[in-house]
């Protein structure tokens, strides 16, 4: 018996079957973790939505979150939006000039901005500036037992901490998106018309011709999903943060990384879906605008 145990302990596990078994075990564990995480975030979202429709938080709880998400994010969104518009103009100009299509630059810049770059940029800024802060704040509250303290006093941490942040992200991200769109369009026009000397009439005429109101609607509509995803992911990461400073740090970075990945995935699927339903959902009366 003892000889057998010794031989088992000293024999290295290196055969192909053992490696396959290890791979299956690792893959199984990964799969279980993914399903558990998905279940956890689904329950968390369900509880948030259930509280959202049960009782709206008090004004004094909501206002600081709206200020943090909306007012304090505006300058950085406006600044980055402006530069994205100018970068697009600067980078695309030479290619368009080669084909003598520089007057079409406005259409390309503005279409890219209102459909894709504006919403994604506003969402990325929100995830970086607000999402990480939410995860770090809730994570710190978790490790210092403030979330337990809320529960112990009969208050729902979801209602008190998550719902206001969720509402702030959901309601204000369209505003940030429109700001990013506007500043990007202005930045692109400034660089194209003033610095690159593109004829302003053709620049705007082409923009008006190619950029539909539906494009603007698509961008703003997508942003609602981005805002909801950022709020849920960031709050969830903070809420179930691991102990210690390391746990809070991981929650903050994880909130941004996961939010960013989910933003791009949602962007792709919603972008394709919106293209397909264009004729169905968009009344003809708007197409002439």
């Amino acid at each position: 018996m003892s000889t057998g145990s010794r031989s088992l302990a000293t024999t290295p596990r290196g055969g192909p079957l053992a490696r396959l078994a290890d791979f299956i075990a690792d893959f199984g564990e990964l799969l279980i973790n993914w399903v558990t995480a998905l279940g956890s975030i689904s329950l968390f979202t369900g509880r948030t939505l259930s509280w959202l429709f049960t009782r709206i938080p008090r004004r004094e709880t909501m206002l600081p979150n709206f200020y943090q998400v909306g007012v304090l994010s505006l300058p950085v969104v406006a600044l980055t939006g402006t530069f994205i518009g100018m970068v697009l103009a600067a980078q695309s100009y030479s290619q368009f000039k080669m084909m003598h299509l520089e007057s079409r630059l406005g259409a390309v810049i503005n279409l890219s901005l209102v459909r894709e770059l504006g919403p994604v940029l506003a969402a990325t800024m929100l995830a970086g500036r607000v999402g990480s802060a939410i995860a770090a704040e809730l994570g710190t509250m978790r490790v210092t037992e403030q979330i337990d303290a809320l529960s112990s006093m009969g208050a729902s941490p979801i209602h008190y901490l998550v719902v206001p942040r969720f509402l702030a992200c959901l309601v204000l991200i369209p505003t940030l998106t429109i700001m990013a769109d506007f500043m990007g369009v202005a930045g692109g026009a400034f660089y194209g018309i003033v610095m690159l000397d593109i004829d302003w009439h053709h620049y705007w005429a082409n923009s008006q011709h190619y950029v539909d109101l539906f494009d603007l609607f698509t961008g703003v509509f997508k942003s609602l999903f981005f805002g909801a995803a950022i709020a849920v992911i960031s709050c969830h990461r903070g809420f179930y943060c691991d102990p210690g400073a390391e746990g809070v740090g991981r929650a903050a970075t994880g909130a941004f990384v996961h939010s960013f990945v989910v933003i791009l995935v949602i962007d792709f699927f919603l972008g394709v879906a919106m293209d397909n339903v264009y004729d169905v959902v968009w009344p003809d009366v708007f197409k002439s605008l």
Binding site: P64, T140, M141, T144, E145, Q146, D148, A149, S151, S152, M153, G154, A155, S156
Partner: protein, 277 residues
């Protein structure tokens, strides 16, 4: 002594009953088959070394942690079977002083203490302010701290504000998690006095988790001692002492004596064997 409306002190009635409760996190079991009954008005002190499950026991009493086996009854209700709103209502009958006080950083002291009153009562602002001022006076702090943020306070002051917040709703059951940990001996004695005074003034039932024997001897009507499961065989009970504080010195259990007298005993030998000493 201020008798509270609706509070009964019928003999034989337990405010808290823990029945064969086992609590674990994943594969890690922390509490096993714990049975404790706490009569109304009693101050129960739970002692034991770090990691033995004292805080988990405290959190399972208020329903922050749920046993996977057995039950915890508060005033006859199994908290794990209550709906969310009923549970929230029952929790207003608890006061919980957390180890680090767990004051809300973003709020002032006044907002912290008034939080449960604003959440659960429709009292006018003046009345709430009066209660806040009474509670802050109860814990011996000046009213000037009311408009300060928790980060501006010392550890002892934070604990006292935490105690004032826990007492704001005039609870039936006070739970204290390591109330004197990290405090100097004088401040520890102040906290012990406040625990005693809360009981005398508000007729509150209390559970105090501590590893400070001075606190245990001073405030306890009864002491229980838990032992870490990792050091026990499967059939050994986790609760190794249950009795009045005056009996603890003569318990006859070497593990209890070691803890009470603060002797490392076999732990030193284990560390030597591992080469740590």
């Amino acid at each position: 002594m201020v008798a509270k409306a609706g509070k009964t002190n019928e003999p034989g009635q337990f405010l808290v009953e823990i029945r064969d409760a086992s609590v674990g996190f994943g594969r890690h079991e922390v509490l096993r088959d714990i049975t404790v009954q706490i009569p109304r008005g009693e101050t129960l002190v739970v002692i034991g070394e770090s990691g033995c499950g004292k805080t988990v026991l405290l959190k399972s009493i208020i329903g922050l942690v749920r046993p996977y086996q057995g039950s915890v009854l508060f005033d006859g209700n199994d908290l794990s079977k209550l709906r969310q709103q009923e549970l929230a209502r029952e929790r207003t009958r608890f006061g919980f002083l957390f180890q680090g006080a767990a004051l809300f950083d973003s709020m002032t002291v006044r907002q912290n203490i008034s939080f449960p009153l604003r959440e659960h009562t429709k009292k006018p602002a003046d009345e709430i302010n009066q209660i806040v001022e009474d509670r802050i006076a109860d814990v011996g702090l000046p009213e000037t701290v009311l408009d300060q943020k928790p980060v501006q306070l010392s550890g002892g002051m934070r604990k006292r504000v935490g105690l004032a917040r826990a007492m704001a709703m005039n609870p039936d059951l006070m739970l204290y998690d390591e109330p004197t940990t990290g405090l100097d001996p004088i401040m520890s004695d102040v906290i012990n006095e406040l625990i005693l005074r809360s009981r005398e003034r508000y007729d509150v039932t209390s559970v105090v988790v501590t590893h400070d024997m001075r606190t245990a001897r001073k405030v306890a009507d009864r002491v229980i001692m838990l032992y870490p499961l990792g050091r026990l065989d499967e059939d050994e009970p986790q609760m190794i002492f249950n009795g009045p504080p005056e009996d603890i010195d003569g318990s006859g259990d070497a593990r209890v004596t070691q803890f009470v007298e603060g002797e490392a005993g076999e732990r030193l030998m284990e560390m030597r064997q591992r080469g740590a000493l």
